[in-house]
Symmetry: C2
Subunit: 260 residues, 2 copies
DNA sequence: GGTCTGCCAACTGTCAACAGTTTGCAGTTG
DNA sequence: CAACTGCAAACTGTTGACAGTTGGCAGACC
């Protein structure tokens, strides 16, 4: 109803919905994101191909594509596994997200019109967990199947708001990159709950940020967004029982990240 | 015989150098980046598979992966084409690059050790076009075949310096994203020459930026880098005979980039 | 002469079968 | 009884062949 390109509109459209390869890719992505395939799990090609009613060829092509998006991990002669993110990788993905959003904010303030900015506020008010998949940005440069599934994880609304904000930059390259890293973060954090306190804080931060954004106060918006993202990352880390990477490495001169 | 990953190091290593799929992927990427396959050109699967001595299966898997990286474009039932970037897309890719590098600078200043920073200076001094492929970052999270080819285009040294700087952030996600967008920009701009004046300016800007970076003056380094990147983008646009997007949209409230 | 229609060739998308590798297990041996 | 070796099953990697679609070309028709 909202933004998702509805498949059930026409039966003929469903038949012609791209090739088997693309359909398989979309279905696989959903299966990975909604947990049907658990992180670390191995994908048996014949089993999955059989259950989807397709051959191994298109399935393998879909697997290649998802591996390129960071959702699967390929091991030579061992097959494909659902990507299991290490704590360090979660932090790195988060930092990538921060990099994208911080610059996107500047573009949004420069370019977005008032209506679009105002429309963002609606996303914060309808914070109920019942809102179904509104995750697709208006101009998705990725494939049409790239959508966050309907199983409402704790991060869906959060990611959705941010993704929409980024898409207002009008830059489809940045938007696509953000969507991809958001998918990865969703996969990595989908079973991570946030504390209630954090949840309320997050909403306040969103509102403050949005106010600055609508007033086109670039410096304030940027600062508020970064503080919000850093706080969100810190909460995630604490829930996961990890210590923040961002404060430990400055003392040690080398050796710290040279081995990766 | 053309671009094949060097087999003469060890016969056994050549045999076990990944699967045919991966080799094909690396070779294809090189062929796209070095212009063997021209932008807009269509890839005939049987011809290419034949010339590489592989079957269509692995070739198609490689094509899927390169399409995911933005180097190829897939058209349903029409095949794969070398991606031909529109002016707008070039600008968007450039902005994505800016977003990544601006945040990377902060991480570099926080985390990189003095030696690594000093090592960057060497890249600027050996500006001769004879320096062979040093394009791989220390920690390439992409596949081992992902390198800017040896055909020294005008942007190779430029991109190389920036890529190395980004890799010093220690963040492999950001580094991988930067590498990917740099590949795209290389493909889009490989036949674009820079003015001599711009060339000298660029070097000066690099040096000034590097000084600020080594002194860990975050604000200065960030500002200098952004000015440098904006100037570089402006030069590229002028060479291409385009007008900058970044200055036209602020006045018009909407309608400017809503159609994309 | 221009335009439209129907056919044909080329190519992509898909499938089923073959070959090589890995992993786990059973048997054997010290 | 533990550890090592060899085998076998399962699965991935690869291949060649089949079917459906697209685009162009020739011929007919207006």
């Amino acid at each position: 109803m909202t933004v998702t390109p509805q498949p059930e509109s026409d039966a003929r459209a469903a038949i012609h919905r791209g090739t088997v390869s693309r359909q398989t890719e979309a279905i696989l992505r959903d299966m990975v994101l909604d947990g049907t395939l658990a992180p670390g799990e191995r994908l048996n090609e014949v089993t999955i191909a059989d259950s989807l009613g397709v051959s191994r060829g298109p399935l393998r092509e879909a697997i290649q594509k998802l591996a390129g998006e960071g959702l699967l991990q390929l091991k030579s002669h061992r097959g494909a596994f659902v990507r299991k993110y290490e704590p360090r990788e979660i932090i790195e993905a988060y930092e990538l997200r921060i990099a994208l959003e911080l610059y996107a904010v500047r573009l949004v303030i420069e370019r977005a019109d008032d209506e679009s900015l105002a429309a963002l506020r609606v996303l914060l008010e309808t914070d109920a967990p019942g809102t179904p998949g509104t995750t697709i940005p208006p101009t998705p440069p990725l494939d049409p199947g790239a959508e966050v599934p309907r199983t409402a994880g704790p991060y869906v609304a959060e990611l959705d708001f941010h993704q929409r904000m980024v898409s207002l930059s009008g830059n489809s390259a940045i938007t696509a990159a953000a969507l991809k890293v958001n998918h990865r973060l969703y996969l990595a954090l989908t079973h991570t709950e946030r504390t209630q306190a954090r949840r309320e804080h997050a909403n306040d931060e969103h509102l403050a940020f949005l106010d600055a954004l609508c007033d086109r106060r670039t410096a304030d918006a940027t600062r508020l967004l970064e503080e919000h993202l850093q706080a969100s990352l810190a909460n995630t880390l604490s829930v996961l029982g990890l210590e923040p990477l961002t404060s430990t490495h400055r003392s040690t001169p080398s050796e710290d990240l040279h081995h990766a």
